[in-house]
Amino acid sequence: MFWSVIESLPFVWRGLLVTLGAAALTVSMSLVAGLLLGTIVTYAPWPARIPVRLFSDLIRGIPILVLIFFVYYGLPVTGLNLNNFAAGVLAITLFSTAQVVEITRGSLQSLHHGQMEAAKAIGLNFPQRLTYVIFPQAVRRFLPPWINSVTDAVKGTALLSLVGIVDLMLAIQQVIGRTYAPMPLYVLGALIYFVINYSLSSLSRRLEARYAYIKE
């Protein structure tokens, strides 16, 4: 049994790579989309704000698993065929984007309105105000909850196994099916998830310390 577990490690490794790949895609796409939509929801006139508000409220009101099934089984009905990996990643990205939208909005709104006004008063235009005044101050408030949402996204990728993607989770389950050694393998899996997320949260604490000099 011990050897069969060892022998299965490369298989688990491939699962881990799938998990990491899905997480990296999700995190980067949701970061870009969430920052953009979060900025819109904070500053744009209401006709642009309302669709983003609806999107965010809707997505956050649906459990991530339901979202995955919805995209996986639902999209083909509309004629759009995605393979299970693309569908799964899209679903988690939607979920994560909605989180990033709210985190962005929260950190932008937490800044004193005087900052925007002072930036206007020296003649900076809107993109300049965001680039040089607003975003540099908002990062400090953005990072801790964002890293939190990244760890949620990483954990969320475990649900991809439910649409047949051989990620870390499913790889481990399949190895257990062959080796009948559930305990060591589940412990291994938990440990890997923990190591990923723990590194993320220590990174977060380091980044926080780096921005601690900004005191309003």
């Binding site: 004193h112 005087g114 900052q115 006004e117 002072a118 930036a119 206007k120 008063a121 020296i122 003649g123 900076l124 235009n125 809107f126 300049q128 040089y132 005044v133 540099p136 101050q137 000099y213 900004i214 005191k215 309003e216």
Partner: protein, 264 residues
């Protein structure tokens, strides 16, 4: 924007029939006001009379409903489109015009992530498009004019209120605005820090900076301004040289206002 016609003889700021309401509350009800080059005009009036709103309209932090505000002959917030309709200027035009007026805030609003020097440099770099070296030398010069040459590298959180406000003045003045707008810039300061800030304003006045300031410091207004404006019920109720305004106390509302503030 039109080029630069010769505007030497014209007022820098010219306000006519300015009206502004917040919902049902009519705050400004027809303000007329001219500020000549080099003038130091103090605006006084009771709380809620619209002094801050007036300043904010001038540098387009607030829109107004009717009337006109011209800066060197250019309408600040609106322009007429091809059909002759009044249109609010777009973001880019507003930004360019705002750069021509400086604003110093009651609560400073320094950028907390930037040093004193960087606070002053930001507008010079990004709006005035100066090279780093030039921006740095202009900013350094302004920091020394407000007596903070040695604090160039300090973050706002490492400065006292009076020092922060002096950086605020340097940040606005370094842009070379046509008029500097000061909104109760000493009222958030501990009493012992007021003097150093007023001394800086005094010096700017002596150097010929055109200023429009809202203040509750009657003694300073009297001594440093060339003109006093008393705003009441949304209009300019009394206007004149400081000696005159304080001596004659031309109307009852001004008299009771002055009686109230002199007890503070």
């Amino acid at each position: 924007m039109p080029g630069n016609p010769d505007t030497t003889g014209l007022p820098v700021v010219s306000i006519r029939g300015l009206e502004k309401s917040f919902g049902a509350l009519a705050v400004l009800r027809g303000i007329d006001l001219d500020v000549a080059r080099g003038d130091v005009v103090s605006i006084i009036g009771s709380s809620g009379s619209g002094k801050t709103t007036l300043l904010r309209c001038i540098n387009a932090l607030e829109t107004y409903d009717n009337g006109s505000i011209q800066l060197d002959g250019v309408e600040v917030q609106f322009r007429n489109d091809e059909a002759g309709r009044r249109q609010r200027r777009n973001e880019w035009e507003l930004a360019r015009l705002r750069a021509e007026t400086g604003m110093v805030f009651q609560l400073f609003y320094l950028f907390p992530h930037l040093t004193a020097l960087q606070n002053v440099m930001l507008g010079l770099r990004k709006v005035r498009k100066m090279e780093v070296a030039e921006a740095k030398s202009v900013a350094t010069d302004w920091l020394s004019r407000v007596g903070l040459a040695d604090k160039a590298g300090s973050l706002p959180s490492q400065l006292s209120g009076g020092q922060q406000q002096r950086v605020g003045i340097a940040r606005a003045a370094a842009m070379g605005p046509k008029v500097l707008l000061l909104d109760e810039i000493t009222s958030a300061l501990d009493p012992e820090l007021v003097g150093e800030v007023l001394a800086v304003v005094r010096k700017l006045a002596d150097d010929g900076m055109t200023m429009l300031m809202v203040t509750h410091e009657m003694a300073f207004a009297r001594e440093a301004s060339s003109r006093i404006i008393f705003i009441d019920a949304g209009r300019v109720a009394v206007e004149g040289a400081p000696g005159e305004v304080f001596r004659e106390q031309a109307n009852d509302r001004l008299r009771s206002f002055l009686a109230r503030v002199s007890h503070l």
